[in-house]
Each structure stands twice: as C-alpha cells, then as structure tokens.
Symmetry: C2
Subunit: 366 residues, 2 copies
C-alpha cells in the first residue's frame, strides 16, 4: 500500500491521498464519543474490559485517560481479560505528541466519567437481542448536529473517535437492518473473531424488532433504535454537523461503517468531506473486511496508521500484533492526525516510543 | 469615557485599550455557563423570570436561545415580570452577526437544556440562607480547569458568560465572605435595586454557615460552598484553565467580581490575561459600583459595550434604558467580541438593528 507519512492509503487511494494532504499542518479537534450498551455483556462478545460487567467502566475510563492521563473511575487502565491495555493508550500518546485538544461527548452512559463531557441527551443502550436498543435517536442526532456545527468553527478539521464495548456487534446489527452485507466482515477486539455469536445475536435482534435484512435501508433512525448503540446517533450527528463545513476523519474500525451508513442515508452530501482513519491492524485483519463494507455504502477514503508494535519491549504491546484489540478510542485516527499535523515530527517510531513511555507509567502505577 | 470601536474603556483604561486591541480580528469561542440556585426564589430578589419559580427555566432557555435561535424548554423566551425579554437576545444577535461558535457549560441545573452542553459534575444550588449553598465546588473547579485548558486550544481567546437568576445576591455572599466590601455595590436586574433584601439574605447566610465578613478571605472554595452559586466554580475553573494560555473576557456585570475574587485567590497569575466585559447599563448604573468592587480585588480592565436602546422602535427594548435587566448571558461581552472581531463591521447601530429583527421574530412568535 502507498504511504504518506506513516499513513497507509488503504482504500480509494487517490481520495485518501488528497484527504491526508488536506490535513497536513492543520489544527484538528479530537472528539471522543463514548457510550455503553448491554450488548457488550453477552458472554464472549467483547474483550474491551476485564470481564463483561466491567464494560460499563471502559468508555468513561478511556475518556478520563485521554483528558487526565490517568483513569479516575477505575484503578489502572482498561484492559482485556488477558491484561492487554486499552487502545486509548495509543490515542492519548498521539494526541499529546501533537498537542491536540480533546472533547468527550456522551451518547448514553451507565457510568459517567469524572471529567468534563458534552451531554447529548442519550441513554445507555439495551441489548440488541431485545430489538429495541436505543432511546431518543432522532433527538440525539439533532443535538449532535448542532454541536458539530459549532465545533467545526473551532478547528480546521474534526477527528472523531469512539469507545463502546460491543460496538462491532451493534454495527453488524445496523448494517444488516440497512441491507449492507457485513456478516463475517466486522472486526473484533479478540484474536478469534466470534462471527457466529455476532450473527446469531443480530438475527435474534432483527426478529425481535420485527425487521429483516435490509428492511430498514431507508430508515437509519429506526435501524439504530432497533439494532444499534447510543454511540451511533451522537457520532453520526457530529459528522453531519461538522462535515458541512470542515473535513471530518471518522476514527475507528469497522464500527465506522455503521455510522457511515447512517450519515449516507441522512445526508450523503457531507460525505465529500469525510474519511475513515483506522489502524494497520484493522485493514490487514483477515477476519474482517472494512473495505468490503465501505464499498457497499459510499466512495469515501480509508486511511490507516502504519503503527507496528512487533519490535516493542513490552509483551502487552506486542500482543496487538497478534490481533488483540486492533483499534478503539480513535487510536488509528489520532495517530494519523498526529502525523498529519507534525509531518515527519511524528513517525511510527517516535509514536511507539511515546506509547511505551506511557505504558510504563500507567501499567506500573497499576 | 474613551472608546475603541463602540466599546467603552470603563476601568483601567490603558489595560482596557490594550486588551480590546489584542482581540481585534481574532477568533473567539463563546462559553455560556449556566446554573440555578434556590436563592433566586426569594421573593423580590430576581427579575430573571416571569415569577420566582420560573427562574429554574431561565438558564436552560437562555442557552437554547443561543444555540437554536429559539427556546425549547419554554414557550417564547425568558422575560421579566414586566415582559422585558432576556439579554440572551442581545448575546444571540451579537454572536450570530460575528459568526462566533458557542458552547454551553452546566455548573448545576434543576432543568436541563434540550441542546448539547458540557457537564461539569455540579448540582443545582441551595438558598444561601442555609449557609451551605453549593456541592462539589473543588471537583467542579478542577473539571472546569481541564475543560478550559482544552478549549483554549480551539480559539484565539475565550469569552465566558453566565445565566443564573439570583446571581448578584450570591455574588454579594461570596464577596462578603472573602472580605470584599460589596454591600450597595452589586447590580440588579430590577430598576429598583433591592440592596436591603440582598444584605439581609447574605447576613443570614453567613451566620448560618458560622462565618463572618472576611472570614473566608483565603478560602474561596468554602466561600462558594457556603454563600455562592454553582455557576461560580464552573466559571472560575474555565477562566483559570484557559487564561493560562489565551486571553479570557469575563462577560457579565457585578457577578463577575465574585468569580474574579475566586480566581484571584486560587491563581492570581492568570489575571494578566483576563478582562471583564459588560454593558454601558452596568458601568453607568448609579445603584451599583462594579469598578469599586474590582478595584478591591485585582488590577483587571473593565470594558463596556456602548449599546443604546433609547432610539429603539420597541418598548420592550427601550426598557433597558430605564435600568431593567442591564446585563446577563454575556450580553455585553458578546457585543464587545462582535465589534472586536469585525471592527467597524459591527457598530452599535448595526447591532441594534439585528437585535430588533430578532426581537420581532421571537416576541411575535410568542
């Protein structure tokens, strides 16, 4: 794959190159959209927490880490059941290197972070197996559009990330309801992608909501309400509001395709200002297919930070090379933004060194 | 008084001139800090609502007006018992003329606005007569400092306003607890300033908290907790966080002196980057003395928008010339900022025309 800085042009190469060059040297604002869903508590669905019940704490803890450099609502930092640290460690390192301002936005949370955050009027999400997963979708979208419009005036461009355990399953739910073939294509925070469990969960959810594959292709609000999660309306609204004025980098893995589908159905005009930014681990993942989903929705570029932990001194970081975690909290997009802002001032090696320094400080503290 | 644009250099003239010139042509972010206190429900204390119980709705309605151009939590717009419209009408007009982005921050609210807002972890305030008015003061200050630091990176400077009915009484409370002579010097939204009632309320409150004039001079956190309101920790923290990096215009009347006292006690170093921006109605008010309070605290400049409604076609606006309302929701500061951003592109006449247009649209809608 062609690279600009240490950023891979992973899909729609010409657009991707134009997109990264447009960001070069500009001043971004990073928005981290956090939410929780009971879907994450289905045994075996998510590795974004030491155990399923713990997933309520992962998004607020990730947000605290970004703003404070440490967590307040938990000891240490969020880890997988194997003790691998949250990708927020990457995000925080990249944003600090490039001195990027951060705003946290809540789509709906069980546990509130102990930091300032933008309240958008959402509630925590229910298990999508109920067929009725998210409240106030339309209202949250409208509020987030308003926020996006104002935030667009405060930066040259926005980069928006997410933290919501269980998010690839709800992404599959929304994509399926909207008629986008994503079975076997969504990513996972686990090395063994539990596609079967995700498919079964979504099938149960679709049946419970009285919908079927593609039946909500033209009703993205209902698709999110039935089968999505509360991150989605917040994220989609921010994109719609901001991308009307400035470029927006959607920072995440295959979850971003569900937000892309929602934005595309509500306001396709803004997509000329939108790109997806993720990690090498996602675009090279053989158990998922972000390009294959994006291509069904819209012609947006996909960029991927060429971060590589194979030479790290720490086994907790090396694990990322085995397909654990892969992405989250906008880790790939934040890395891309740091590289775009400072050019050769932030290479993959410089970034790894910063991540390792923070790893030592945070994991030893624990 | 000397003017730059249609801005009066009302106090510390040389500093005021330097301050306004520093803002010229720069890009501001307007932050509106909203909160509620039961103190506003003391009969005869506040005109910021049709009746005392209504004061819970004034701050969220003001915030909605700024972001949406209309209110959602009430019909029409907030008015005084005589039907005079909220100063948010001025703020909204100025910010729209100059295309200034707006962020709303909650210090603690009974009624939440139906728009995006920054949550800072505060609660609604109790009546200061209880002697125990505000929760979580230290925590809210810390969160607001963090927000201020990040927001400082998104703009050339910050202008911070407030909406909290009853705020001049709580300001008197905090100023008195901190040993600053403000009896008879705080302003009022009513044409007849109820100084006697305010003094009595504060004396009762100080006694209830076991404190006396000046006993909390070195403990601003406790002064706010005992005798203040939840706007103050949010506002003070934002100032401390942002003014370390960029200029901050504190937009409001005599309430700003209580925030100034808190900032001065916690972190006086940032005050070299701070000015107060208010209206001609406040600096020319014979029933209050903003300069006399500021002079006791710190050597910051006071600027005043030279807005003049005496020639308005509408009696609801002409009433401002009789000393009703005077200031609020950062009306003076927002006007100053519009003038500083666009220079002669926004004169007092252009601003009045815009305010009248919005007055017609909003008051007729009602």
């Amino acid at each position: 794959m062609k690279k600009v800085f240490d950023v891979l042009l992973a899909h729609n190469e010409f657009k991707a190159e134009a997109f990264i060059k447009e960001l070069e040297g500009k001043k971004p604002l990073f928005v981290c959209t956090i939410a929780t869903t009971e879907t994450a508590k289905i045994q075996g669905i998510s590795a974004a927490g030491e155990n399923p019940e713990f997933t309520d704490y992962t998004p607020p803890a990730d947000a605290e880490l970004l703003l404070l450099g440490k967590c307040k609502c938990i000891k240490g930092v969020p880890v997988t059941p194997d003790g691998i640290p949250t990708p927020a460690l990457i995000t925080m390192s990249a944003l600090r290197l490039a001195d990027v301002p951060v705003l946290v936005a809540s789509g709906g949370l069980k546990v509130k972070p102990q930091i300032p955050f933008l309240e958008l009027g959402g509630n925590p999400g229910r298990d999508i197996k109920t067929g009725n997963a998210v409240d106030n979708v339309e209202e949250v979208i409208q509020r987030a559009i308003l926020a996006g419009k104002h935030l667009a005036k405060t930066a040259d461009y926005l980069v928006i990330g997410e933290s919501i355990p269980g998010g690839t399953t709800t992404a599959l739910g929304v994509l399926s309801a909207m008629g986008i073939k994503a079975e076997g294509k969504v990513s996972s925070s686990m090395p063994e992608n539990p596609h079967g469990l995700k498919n079964k969960t979504v099938q149960t959810g679709l049946a419970a909501s009285g919908e079927s594959f593609g039946s909500l292709a033209k009703n993205p609000v209902k698709a999110v309400a039935c089968q999505g999660d509360p991150m989605m309306p917040a994220f989609a609204g921010l994109v719609i509001g901001a991308a009307a004025y400035v470029p927006v980098l959607m920072a995440g893995g295959t979850q971003m395709t569900s937000v892309l589908a929602v934005v595309n159905a509500l306001n396709p005009d803004v997509l000329c200002n939108v790109g997806i930014g993720t990690t090498r681990w996602v675009v090279n993942d053989s158990s998922s297919d972000i390009r294959g989903i994006v291509a069904q929705i819209a012609d947006v570029p996909v960029l991927a930070a060429d971060i590589d932990f194979s030479q790290s001194r720490f086994s907790g970081l090396k694990a990322y090379e085995k397909g654990i975690v892969k992405e989250g909290v906008g880790a790939g997009g934040a890395s891309i933004v740091a590289m775009a802002k400072l050019g050769d001032g932030v290479t993959k090696d410089i970034l790894l060194k910063e991540i390792e320094n923070n790893y030592v400080a945070l994991m030893e503290k624990k």
